[in-house]
Structure formats: C-alpha cells, structure tokens
Amino acid sequence: MAESPITIRAEIGASVWKILATPGAAVGEEEPILILESMKMEIPVVAPHDGVVVEILVAEGQQVEEGQAVATFRR
C-alpha cells in the first residue's frame, strides 16, 4: 500500500539551479532531487529515504522562499 506523498521544502531562500530527477524517477536515500543555489553555495535537496519523485513543483532559474514546497515524494 503506497503512502501518501510527502512535501519537500526549500530550507533557504534560493534560486533553483538544477533539477536532477523527473517525476516517476526512483531515487535512493540522500540522493539529490534538485540543487538550490544561494549566495554562491549549492544546496542539494535530497530524498529523505528511498522512494519515487511524484512531482517537481519548481523550474530551473525560479526563485524560492524559505519553506516553499519544491517537490513531492512517495516512499
């Protein structure tokens, strides 16, 4: 029985630098889904555990606020 998707949020105000996973992609725990960039530092947004990316909610180049949802994810 699949669990309901969880929301992954940006931990910092940033721009979306690169999106590495597409919806439906299986990713392992700690594997990056996308990379944010803020103040010249790349901040990977990683899978909390093994699972599948359900939705990417942002586009490359987009500005995101701290706490903004960037992807949904299912175990």
């Binding site: 105000g13 940033a14 590495l20 990379i35 103040m39």
Partner: protein, 455 residues
Amino acid sequence: MSGPVLIANRGEIAARIARSCRRMGWPSIAVFSDADATALHVGAADRAEPVGAAPPRESYLSIPALIAAAERSGARYVHPGYGFLSENAEFAEACARAGLIFVGPPPSAIRAMGGKAEARRIAEAAGLPCLPGADDALEEAAARIGFPVMVKAVGGGGGRGMRRVGRAEDLQGALDAARREAAIFGDDRLMLEKLVEKARHIEVQILADAHGNVLYLHERDCTLQRRHQKLIEECPAPGMDAALRAELGRRACDLARAVGYVGAGTVEFIAEAPLQADRIWFMEMNTRLQVEHPVTEMVTGLDLVEWQLRIAAGEALPFAQADITLDGHAVEARICAEDPARQFLPSPGRITALRWPEAGPDLRVDAGFGTGDLLTPHYDSLLGKIIAHGATREVALGRLALALDQCAAEGVRINAAFLAAALRSPEMRAAEINTGFLEAARKRLVEASMKEQAA
C-alpha cells in the same frame, strides 16, 4: 595621476579598490546590478554605471555589459577584483580589444594557471614539488601513489567534486560519484593526488612588474576553512622560519616567471605540520588579488591595489626583495552572512541592523554592506573583513577576537561570534590546526560562542 578605473565588482572589494584609487588621485567608477543600485560600494566610487539585472550572468559576469560601461564612462583601466571575471582570460582580451588596460596578468598567464592539471604540469616543469598525482589512468595511479588519495574535479573550484578515498575498494565508487558531481558543473574530468592528512594551507603573495622584476611578499596561512573556503587568515604562518619563507618565495617567483606573470598573484601550497621544505607541495596559482590580501598589507605596509594599478600603468617596482618588511603579525576574519549552527548555511535577507567594530591603527575594517542592505541569493555571503595587527601573534589574535565581539547583525545571521570562539580556542592559540579544524570543532565553537554572547 592616472585612471579612471572601472571597478568590475561589488561588495567590500569594490569599496576597497575605490579607497586606494581615491588616495592615489585616480578617479574610479563603480558598476552595479539592478539589485545593488543603493549598495555601499556604489557610493564608495566617484561615479557609477548600471550593468544589468540582478543575476550575475546578466551584470557582473557579462563581458559586453562591463565593456559598454567602461566605454560609456571613459574608463582607461578595468580592475576585476576577485571572483566574477577576475580569472577570465576572455574578459582580459575583451578589455585589450576595447583599448582598456586590464589590471591583472596577461591572458596567457591566466590560461596557463586556470586548469588544475595543466597548472600542475607547468609547476613541475618549473621545479616546484607537487604531490604525487595523475589526471588519467586514475585507478593505476592510485595504486602506485598509495591510499589515502584525494579525488578532485579538474575544472572545479571551491572544493567541488572533492572526495577523500581511504581504501582501494572504495575508489571506483568515489570516482563514479565525483564524475557525476563534476558533470553537473559542465566538466567531468577528474584528477587525484596523494592526500595530506592534517593539512595546512600556506600561500605566497607575489608582485611582478612588466620589466622582469618578481618579488614575494611573504606567506599567508589560510588553514581555517569551511567547505574548502577560507574564514581566517594570518601572516606570518605559525612555525615558518626565515629559510623556509625564502625557499617558498623562490618557488612562487620561479612559477611566476615561468608563465610570464605581471601584477599581483598568489601561489598556494599544501603543507604538513610541522612546516618543512620537503613537506610542502604546490597546489594552484590564483591570478588575481585575493580576499585575504590585507594581512599582507598590514605586515609589509604596501597597498597591493596601489601596486596593481601602478604596475598596470607600466611602472617598475622601485623596491627590492630585501626591502619587503615583515612587521609584527596580522590576522583577518571574514564576516559572512551564514549560520554556523546550521552547517554554515547561507543567510540571505534584509540586514535590519549591522554593527562593525571601530577601525584604528591596528584594526582595519573592510566593510561591504551596512544596515538596510538586502542580501539576495544571487551573490556570495561575504559582508566584509576585519583585520587586526599586533607585535605578536597573541596580541593580534586577541585584538581580532575583541573586535569580533563588537560585531552584531539583525535580520540575517553572521559568523562573527563563531570566529571569535575559533580565535580563542586552545587549538588556534597553540597553532595546532589543520584545514578540517573548523568543521570538526564546529559544535563546540558554536556552543562557546553562545555562552560568550549570553555572558
């Protein structure tokens, strides 16, 4: 008198370059992106030119926008500062094509030192000891060199793609992961070198004119880092004796001559403590002014920006190696908008209040931002630098720690209290440090800084 100088940068370094220009009587022109119209560096210069939208690619990294600003403003010189286009040979060439004098080395020297693997080959040919390493047949090379090794991205700066590999069986996985990471940045070539455990970072400042004079302005110790980026730098390096200083200075000058270097540059070395000639190896050369150049200025009494400009104007260096003094000890701390308690995560936002310490004869404050400024995610987190001087290392460290206590920010997090705790740590006071110290001791230093603030 000469100039005018277009300062193709922002923040503290743009303001600092403008100060030297003003003292020399050279007019200066700041540039600003849409996000920086009211920034501190804009007011520091005599005039200012807009160069485009907030994303660096459209402003501070746009060669056409900067050349156009130089032409509009009647600039004769272009000072690139550090970062942005400072190590971009195409920018130096574009300046020359537009009849502008690029304040930096010839494009050929920028290119020669630009790639890690090529720079290493040139350094070896110039007689500089390098760590055992390779940029092809990595598996065989690692077996020959022996573990542990450090895997690096050939085109990577700022520690990107760097991985420590302790055992042969972990090499393939590390290479795969490093290659994936490096590919994200557009160049998946890797190299590896013998790993130096408990490493110290030592660098030598050089100054070369267009008449064949090459001098070294002593070393800086930049061992205290996080994420492979420096936070505290000092001169002289603890444990450096006169003979070793002369030996490293000679190596740095040999490399500068080998690439036809002109201007200010820095040759970086990795060292194993205790410092000795056969345990220090060439790492890379930075073909620009460094963030930490003020510690060198404090002990030599020379203004490096002034000499960059005078060299660019064709002047010959009027002093000799024996004239370069080393007076006392200087230490710098980089004040960044970041949160040491959250793994040094950057802290963008509106600075609702920012207090810098009061500058004095032995305390220099190179500020780039102030109360009311907005820190956007587009630019790096360096707010400014505080540099203390003293007759001894102990005095300089103590003076800098007290100055850091006077720093305070609201609206964004800064690392001042953390750096003060690092300066007061027994490890720093005894100079028993390595490049991993700040990250390894982070929690303890964060706790110490909180106690200090509560007291």
